[in-house]
Structure formats: structure tokens, C-alpha cells
Amino acid sequence: MAAQAAAREAPNRPMVPITYYLLLAAALFCMGMFGVLVRRNALVIFMCVELMLNAANLTFVAFARMRGDDLGHVSAFFVIAVAAAEAAIGLAIVIAVFRSRGSVLVEDIRTMKH
């Protein structure tokens, strides 16, 4: 809040370039993707997917700040809602898979049939 207040009070001061935020988002996205591709545990993979979604949100919000309108915020809002739904369904699937195979490791869940 302090930073925000400071920024608002002194709009002409040099500010953090949006590029930094975008770089942070890219890094976050790539880390999430790395986790998705490398981790075996389906739950952790889900967490990494959340990371990726957050990276996308960060990009939206950063661009909103750059353009000076709040459309990006609306998008982020929708992304959060979709992420919630995705997490609910995904975790339900993880539970179902764990029930039938006794494992949440993706390498154990290769076949489509029992």
C-alpha cells in the first residue's frame, strides 16, 4: 500500500518498467512448465499448472497497467474463476485415478484402460 500511495503521489518519478513484470511472468510460466514436464506427481503437476496460470494473470495485469485500462483485470478475474473450476475437476480426477490405480504418478497412468 505504501508503494501504491507513493506511486500515486508522484506520477512522474521513474517507475519499474513493465518489461520487468513481463520477464517475471515469463520466468514463472517457464518454471511452471518445467514442473509440468519434469515432475511425476500428478498433484505437483497441477500445482505447476496453477503457476502457469498465475504467470498468465501476471501478464494480463502488467499489460493492463501498461495500457492504463482495467480490461486485463477482468481477464485475470475470469482466469482465476476458470482455474478454480479446473482445480476442482482436476483434483477429482486425481482422486478417481488414485482409487483405481493406487498411485498418482503419471508414469503409472499410461494406459487408457485398466
Binding site: V16, V61, M66, I89, E107
Partner: protein, 168 residues
């Protein structure tokens, strides 16, 4: 060196550290906890971007609801540390390499794009990213998608119950 840059650097560093913990922690519980902290630090970043409402929702929905769901599932399935380490398969190596390459490419592109925050008038500053502005836009211009999202959440709820239940 201003305070904003310092705050951004701190939050960004912490975010990346937490995210790294999410990826590399051996126990899912640790990953989950690291994810919570990632979400919190990200909320800070949002605040730096004047997106207060998104920051609050980030904390409420992500760090609150979604994380509880994760933890709940971890507890329910009684998942501990995996006894074996995963084999570095071709796919994993290739995927990891691709990710690193992707980041490099993105970084180069992003650094090429000059992007500065918009300069806003005082009125615009006062209303930018507030819940009032956002609410007005969502409930007028974006009403239909908003309702669709509510339907999506309903469907997800029903779906989750159907999928997760062992017997209906």
C-alpha cells in the same frame, strides 16, 4: 533506486524462490506450502501494478480456496515423499531443455519490446483497478461471460462430485 523497484525486486525474488520450491520439493506438502507463498508474493506484485482487486482475489481464491483443496487432497490420499526418484526420460530432458529455450526466447523478445506503465490522470489513478470500477465493467460489459463462468463453476462442482465419488 526507489522503493517501488526495491519492493518489486524483493517480491519477484521471493516469488521465483517459492516457485522453485514448488517444482523441486520432494514432498507434495512442501510444494503446496511453497505454492501458497508464491501466490502471496504474486499478490504483492499485483498491488505494485495497482491491481488491488485482483490481488485480493488472488489471496482469497488461490491462496485460500484452491490451496485448501490441494492440501485436502494430499491429506486425503495420504501422499508422502515419493520413495523413488523419477528416471530422467527422453521426454523429460527434452521438455526441460525446451522450457529453458522457451524462457531464453521469451526473454530476448520481451527485452526488445519497450514497455512503460501508462501515465494516468489523477481521476483515473483514483479509480484504476478498484473493485468499483471492475464491478461496473463486469456487470455491464462482461455480464454474459460472467454468467457463463458461474455456470462453469456449477458444472465443475457437479463434475467433481461425479468424478470423485466412488459410487453414485
Amino acid at each position: 533506486m526507489n522503493i517501488e523497484l526495491i519492493l518489486f525486486g524483493a517480491f519477484a525474488l521471493l516469488t521465483l524462490l517459492s516457485a522453485g520450491t514448488v517444482i523441486f520439493a520432494r514432498s507434495p506438502i512442501n510444494s503446496a506450502m511453497a505454492l501458497v507463498s508464491t501466490f502471496f508474493f504474486l499478490a504483492g506484485i499485483y498491488v505494485l501494478l495497482w491491481a488491488h482487486t485482483v490481488a485480493v482475489m488472488q489471496v482469497l481464491v488461490y491462496a485460500g480456496a484452491i490451496m485448501v483443496l490441494f492440501l485436502f487432497v494430499i491429506m486425503l490420499l495420504n501422499l508422502g515423499e515419493s520413495p523413488t526418484r523419477g528416471k530422467p526420460t527422453v521426454a523429460r530432458i527434452a521438455g526441460g531443455a525446451a522450457t529453458v529455450g522457451l524462457f531464453a526466447a521469451l526473454a530476448i523478445i520481451l527485452l526488445k519490446i519497450p514497455a512503460a506503465p501508462a501515465t494516468l490522470s489523477t481521476d483515473a489513478q483514483a479509480s484504476f483497478g478498484t473493485i468499483a470500477t471492475l464491478g461496473q465493467v463486469i456487470f455491464t460489459q462482461w455480464l454474459l461471460p460472467f454468467e457463463a463462468v458461474s455456470l462453469l463453476l456449477l458444472v465443475a462442482m457437479v463434475g467433481a462430485v461425479v468424478v470423485a465419488k466412488s459410487r453414485i
